[in-house]
Symmetry: C2
Subunit: 301 residues, 2 copies
């Protein structure tokens, strides 16, 4: 059976066309080289070199073998370097799941920084509902999720990356839309558009405490999952809402955003599965400033 040693020896001899010189370049002596070349020729059943009295030269078949062996060895070298890069998380695939809200504030800058630092990692983006992030990470269908803190499984890790205040959103036609002074308490009697609690418990709690602090319990008229759908419905005049401040970036016509005094911060961050062995996950976490503690503790919710 042919071995790589024989190929390496062959390539050296094909280059030097002299057993002594080739052996020297391989840091071995001449007899082993002679034997390995003979063994290779015997395995192939083909004479690769014609040994004349004063010269060694490649046969036609030898030149053919040299061509192919060169590409085979190059392919093998590529395999080694590529695999090492893969293991270092410098190449491969990272599957990023995110909710639309996170996309507005976190996604662009994080992905820009990461793909600049690791251009050989292909990014597979997938926007999902907040409630689907946890299961996707658990099942290994995604490597990292960008969203608010999740009350998901205890086996996932979470690190906060950004905080921002909430803001009220109301139809542009609403009397309060043009007011210079705004207090959330003014919305006490307005119909609210919110989302189911289990979709994003932390965000839901922030919205609720915002209202309670102003002394009222919101009257919920509609519930839908995605924040941008909420803004869309507000634009249609169906109600008002309280959403993360970065939703302003939507620049949706027909709505007005209003800052909320002493708004509780809503937090965004990354969630991942510590059992995930994708090396690109480590490079990503390092890139976004998460020091890997190595602990596999549960997510901080």
């Amino acid at each position: 059976m042919i071995e790589l040693r024989q190929l390496r020896y062959f390539m050296a001899l094909a280059e030097h066309l002299h057993f002594g010189k080739a052996a020297e370049s391989l840091h071995i002596t001449q007899p082993p080289l002679s034997r390995q070349i003979s063994a290779l020729e015997a395995d192939l059943g083909v004479v690769l070199f014609s040994r004349h009295s004063r010269s060694v030269e490649l046969t036609a078949a030898g030149r053919d073998f040299q061509q192919h062996a060169k590409t085979a060895l190059a392919e093998l070298d590529l395999a080694i370097r590529s695999t090492r890069a893969s293991a270092r998380g410098e190449r491969g695939e990272l599957r990023v799941s995110f909710t639309m809200v996170a996309a507005w504030i976190l996604l662009p800058e994080l992905l820009k920084a990461y793909s600049d630092a690791y251009p050989d990692v292909s990014l597979a983006l997938n926007e999902v509902l907040p409630r689907d992030l946890g299961p996707a990470l658990e099942r290994g269908e995604a490597d990292i999720a960008l969203t608010f803190p999740s009350s998901g499984s205890k086996s996932l890790c979470y690190r906060a990356l950004r905080r921002e205040p909430l803001c009220a959103v109301l139809p542009a036609s609403h009397p309060l839309a043009a007011a210079t002074e705004f207090s959330i308490a003014a919305l006490a009697d307005e119909p609210f558009i919110t989302f189911p609690r289990q979709t994003a418990p932390a965000l839901h709690e922030a919205v609720m405490s915002c209202c309670r602090r102003a002394g009222f319990e919101p009257k919920i008229r509609l519930e839908t999952h995605l924040q941008q759908t909420i803004v869309n419905l507000v634009a249609e005049g169906l109600g008002v809402s309280v959403v993360p401040g970065s939703m302003r970036k939507m620049r949706m016509p027909g709505v007005a955003f209003k800052a909320i005094d002493r708004s509780p911060p809503v937090e965004y961050g990354v969630i991942w599965n510590p059992r995930n062995e994708n090396p690109c996950l480590n490079t990503f976490l390092r890139c976004v400033g998460v020091e890997e503690t190595g602990d596999r503790g549960p997510a901080q919710v």
Copy 2:
């Protein structure tokens, strides 16, 4: 240093994802397989398989390595098969030199038969003057020559393949052109266009003996090397000539070909260098019906 054995073992394990089954498929026991995989991982500095309690699976880097290793092994297999084919003369390059005259009669059928039988041999055709055939073969610049017998070097081999009679060629405007009865003796006083003797001694001798048998010595007006140039000059009315019968195929307007009674045959064949190691030469010779006697005797001239 990585060896092919490790790649083969790796591929088997990557396929079976079970050390016992993979070892069985390799006709070895499990311990050596474990060791070789470990050694491969150590050489790469990369963990290729994640061994869990009840399952073995490829890591991301392992999948990457599998991809590249597969193509590298395929390239190597291609190298082996291609090299063996090369050695059998089933692929490679055959450099065929020939004179124009041989091209009319020998070249098409021989090359058709050969390239049908050996489609992976690329043919490099090169038309040369007869006097250059021998040196080209001697210097290894050509593998085979199609021409008439050469008085060239004693180190070359020759085998006859075809014989044909000579024929006279004269301008269409010549009084003899339309004659039904023709004898070469009628050209005794015509200016002849021939070629230098050393260009093709055997053919030259045949032409001369043709005339002498008719009782005259040709009056040579012009000499040029190539037979078709001779026919061109005859068409211009510069003289007459005696050329191989297959020159009729030129269908040159302005000339008439006349059969010669009891013409001495002119012979065509192949010339090659017995020291030439190109395996395609052997397949070519076998293909055209030359049994290789293995003797390295001089050419039969």
